[in-house]
């Protein structure tokens, strides 16, 4: 039984399926690729099982409980694909010693690996995202000093996900002197008329969109209906995929969104996928959808997990590993440009370096804009300002540690 | 034994009028029920008989008039107040609690007599249990009396119509009322069953001294059982008196009986 078990929590039905399905497809295809092309990770086959959460927290918990101890060594890590589920699982995963990978989402304070030993909000937390978004606004306005007195609204999914950036934005508002207004949208977000009428009356300079599922496209349509300029809207990286803009048609033209490093498009690894998976008829989606934003994100996410296992195998041997061992792999994962190129992800990803004190590993971002047909990258790489984020992380995670009676690890002593 | 006390009036209805939109169900009706008697109310369909009972036990609130029961006068009261005052009734369209067994239906009639509260009942221990058993004993007496032992545990929805009427009577009796209002208790019964029912009514009246007001379309029953009969037609009282008097009244024959009985 030379198999490494990896559970896949996904949602292919319900209101969030439009975004959940392409992501899950990317994940599944990448794991298959490793098995088909390489015969597994150093010969250890990847065994997966999907569990439908419907983006609902309680279902997510149920899935986790069901899958955590499957396979010869239990789950290597868990990737709940929802900030809400992440919150619900944070304590459990620490007890069960299973890493929880939340790439580009999850709780921002869990960047602090000293307190959150098992959480890995890789490649960017929502606090990083908030900072990146404000940086973009400043750039468009012509400098941070121009932010003063401006109005910036946050249209957010009323859930842990949408609320996560608020503390950071408040910090930023204080620092730069803009007026910050959070505007909640109730799940699932089909009804936003009053929010947009309010926006029309309040006329903010920018609207940040923290939406998911149908909420994104509805926001764009309602913006068009009240004639709010789409190029003054900046979505988080979960509000910047194809299903978010296509339903709005022409109305979406000009809409911007952050990128979690990569965008849409095909890269060397896609050729492998097409060759080893789709040519054999084992693909999990229609071939035209390969290379969509969320599909790519799923692949990146799966790749990071696989590389972490590979890293851990260096220390623990080429055999199925426990969650605890994989955690070591994650915490010591370093992906250089060369390695990224080897993996076929060149152009999708900047270098990553995870450590005990930094479970985020990288905080690069770019901005893309929808031109009516495709996403166009319109900005250069930038990095979230750690000097602003770090104090908040320290502060909030310390509170968590106190509440949960967790004794933070001394990262200096970790290897 | 039975001794109608001619002087004591249990229920006095005074000038009651009731209208629903354009329909004047009752127009200035007055009558009384004496303690211990069996009082019948008859009249053609839609005359206002059921409405009268509804007024008496508070389900309808009359537009005019007053009701004096056991000496206290009211024009308006809530149904459960009437029940607490000692008025029980059965219904024209059987109004049993369909999902419950016959036993539970009758036990429900004892609600007003239950003393122990929610917490005691939840524990169902000691005094609460003792009380429950005591009520059960009383109810079993009624069940025996009405000869429905075999159907105690049957959900009443499954019972044939006639037995349902009997259970309904049992439920009313469980309240130990002073005044029992019966709305067509013998509709849909054959002679034998009517005999049984008559016997129950007479016995209740005799043994417990319960006063009974009765609506019935079977003239034989009415004439045999009742002490006095009031006749309504189109919401107006057209006759009142002993069965024999009423039987002979031309107004009653025209409006109701058709042929002299």
């Amino acid at each position: 039984q030379n198999e490494q078990f990896i559970p896949i929590l996904s949602y292919r039905t319900g209101p969030y399926a439009v975004n959940g399905a392409p992501y899950a497809n990317g994940v599944v295809d990448y794991y298959n690729l490793i098995n088909e092309r390489d015969g597994g990770i150093n010969g250890v086959k990847i065994l997966t099982e999907e569990c439908e959460t419907g983006y609902a927290t309680d279902k997510g918990v149920e899935c986790y409980e069901r899958l955590k101890s499957k396979g010869p060594t239990g789950a290597a890590f868990i990737n709940p694909l929802s900030t809400g589920i992440t919150f619900a699982l944070t304590e459990k995963t620490a007890t069960d010693k299973i890493p929880i990978i939340t790439m580009g989402y999850g709780r921002a304070d869990s960047k602090n690996g000293a307190v959150f030993a098992y959480n890995f909000p890789l490649l960017g937390t929502y606090w990083s995202a908030a900072d990146l978004a404000i940086q973009q606004v400043a750039k468009e306005l012509g400098g941070f000093d121009k932010l003063k007195g401006r109005k910036i609204s946050l249209l957010y999914h009323d859930s842990p996900y949408g609320k996560e950036p608020i503390p950071m934005l408040q910090v930023l508002a204080q620092k730069y002197g803009f007026e910050f207004t959070p505007i909640p949208v109730t799940h699932p977000g089909v009804e936003q008329k009053s929010q947009w009428l309010a926006i029309r009356q309040n006329r903010p300079d920018y609207v940040l969109v923290w939406g998911w599922g149908v909420m994104n496209s509805t926001a764009i349509k309602e913006a068009a209906a009240v004639a709010y300029p789409r190029d003054k809207m900046i979505g988080v990286w979960w509000s910047g995929a194809e299903p978010d803009v296509t339903p709005a048609g022409d109305q979406a033209t000009g809409y911007k969104a952050l990128m979690l490093q990569h965008g849409a498009g095909k890269f060397p690894v896609h050729a492998d996928i097409e060759k080893h998976i789709y040519a054999k008829g084992k693909g999990s989606t229609e071939p035209v959808k390969i290379g969509e934003v969320l599909y790519n994100r799923g692949m990146v996410n799966a790749m990071l997990g696989v590389e972490a296992i590979r890293k851990a195998q260096e220390k623990f041997g080429k055999k199925p590993l426990t969650g605890e061992q994989v955690r070591w792999g994650l915490e010591n994962l370093v992906l250089t440009d060369t390695r990224i190129k080897e993996l076929g992800f060149e152009g999708m990803l900047k270098p990553v370096s995870i450590s005990c004190s930094d479970h985020e590993g990288a905080r690069y971002g770019r901005v893309q804009q929808w031109d009516g047909k495709a996403w166009k990258v319109i900005s250069d790489w930038s990095t979230a300002d750690e000097s602003l984020i770090e104090p908040l992380v320290t502060d909030v995670s310390a509170k968590y540690a106190a509440e949960k009676k967790i004794k933070p690890r001394d990262c200096a002593k970790e290897t | 034994m039975r001794a109608p006390n001619a002087n004591e009036i249990l229920l006095q209805v005074e000038g009651v009028a009731l209208a629903f939109g354009g329909v004047r169900a009752l127009r200035d009706v007055s009558f009384n029920v004496k303690k211990g008697e069996i009082r019948a109310i008859i009249g053609p369909n839609g005359a206002g008989k059921t409405s009268m009972l509804n007024v008496v036990n508070g389900f309808y609130h009359p537009n005019h008039g007053a009701i004096t029961f056991k000496g206290s006068t009211r024009s308006k009261m809530q149904p459960f107040e009437a029940a607490r005052g000692g008025i029980a009734r059965t219904f024209q369209n059987v109004a049993l609690f369909k999902g419950m067994s016959a036993l539970d239906n009758i036990m429900a009639g004892r609600t007003l007599k239950v003393r122990r509260g929610l917490l005691w009942q939840a524990l169902r221990y000691g005094p609460a249990l003792a009380e429950e058993v005591e009520h059960r004993r009383k109810v079993e007496e009624i069940i025996d009396f009405l000869e429905i032992e075999t159907i105690r545990k049957v959900p009443v929805g499954r019972l044939p119509y006639g037995l349902q009427k009997r259970v309904e009577l049992g439920r009313a009796l469980a309240m130990e009322p002073d005044l029992l209002l019966l709305d067509e208790p013998m509709a849909g019964m054959n002679v034998e069953e009517k005999e049984d029912m008559s016997r129950f009514i007479v016995d209740v009246n005799n043994h417990y001294g319960t006063t009974i007001a009765l609506i019935e379309h079977d003239m034989a029953v009415v004439m045999d059982l009742s002490d006095r009969v009031a006749v309504l037609d189109h919401g107006v009282k057209i006759a009142d008196g002993t069965p024999d008097e009423v039987k002979k009244s031309q107004a009653v024959i025209d409006a109701y009986l058709g042929v002299a009985h």
Binding site: G14, A17, S194, V214, S217, K221, A224, V226 | A95
Partner: protein, 309 residues
Amino acid sequence: MIALGQFLEVLIGGLMSGVLYSLVALGFVLIFKASGVFNYAQGAMVLLAGLALVRALDLLVANGLPLWVAVILAIGFAAVIMAATAWLIERFVIGPLVNQDGLTLFMSTIGVTFVIESAAEMIFGSDVYPLRLFPTDAWFLFEGLFPGGILVNKLDVWGALIAGVLVAGLAVFFQRTKTGRALRAVADDHLAAHSVGIPISWIWFVVWLVAGLVALVAATVWGTKLGVQFSITFLALKALPVLIIGGLTSIPGAIVGGLIVGAGEKLAEVYLGPSIGGGIEYWFAYVLALAVLLLRPQGLFGERIIERV
């Protein structure tokens, strides 16, 4: 002046979007009125109709048919799908449940909801499919009077027109025809309706079909608004307060309820929301409904609940 303009804008926007809810509520009313079934699946039926329509349309257009031909054919196709659904539901779910109480029927429609939603997505796909049958931009009225004008969305106006026509037609059908009378009889007492020879299965098929067609109409409007996608099913929950304010059995009530809910919740959200945290419109609509029911337990235009002994 600005304040007044803004108020009017919110009010009009609210009234209009309320009417869009009415489109969904109408389907509920139809079925309830005719069979006493509280059809939770109405939202799912809108999804199904919308998916059938948009997928057929895309396919036909892709095959080079002129748009108007494609639209007609696609609507025909969707109508056939709704007819098949109506038949299946009658045959396999509601028919066998004749004479059961309202709660059981209600729950069975939730089961139906699961089936329709999933089957629709399985057959027609689960992406977001844009549909553009109506204009979605806005007019800005009285720009001279109010700065920025008063925004009125064209789609909303279309929706309101369609709803008005539907309501008039259906109201006549129910009150004036023999079938309408039979429908109401069935809702009152299944068994008695059987006993006088009303063919309940046929009646129910017709009603579910009409409700399906109403769902199709709703789907054209809502699909244009949101894109055809799963979340359309959530409309069912938004239509419920509309439904009970108007009265479960009243067709015009659905419109009036929609107007009240739409205006009420939007005004509340815009003027009350910010001070107590925002996002209040979901419950506000229901609290509004509760308040109306306390005054009139059968809704504004619903049939009286008969209590007699």
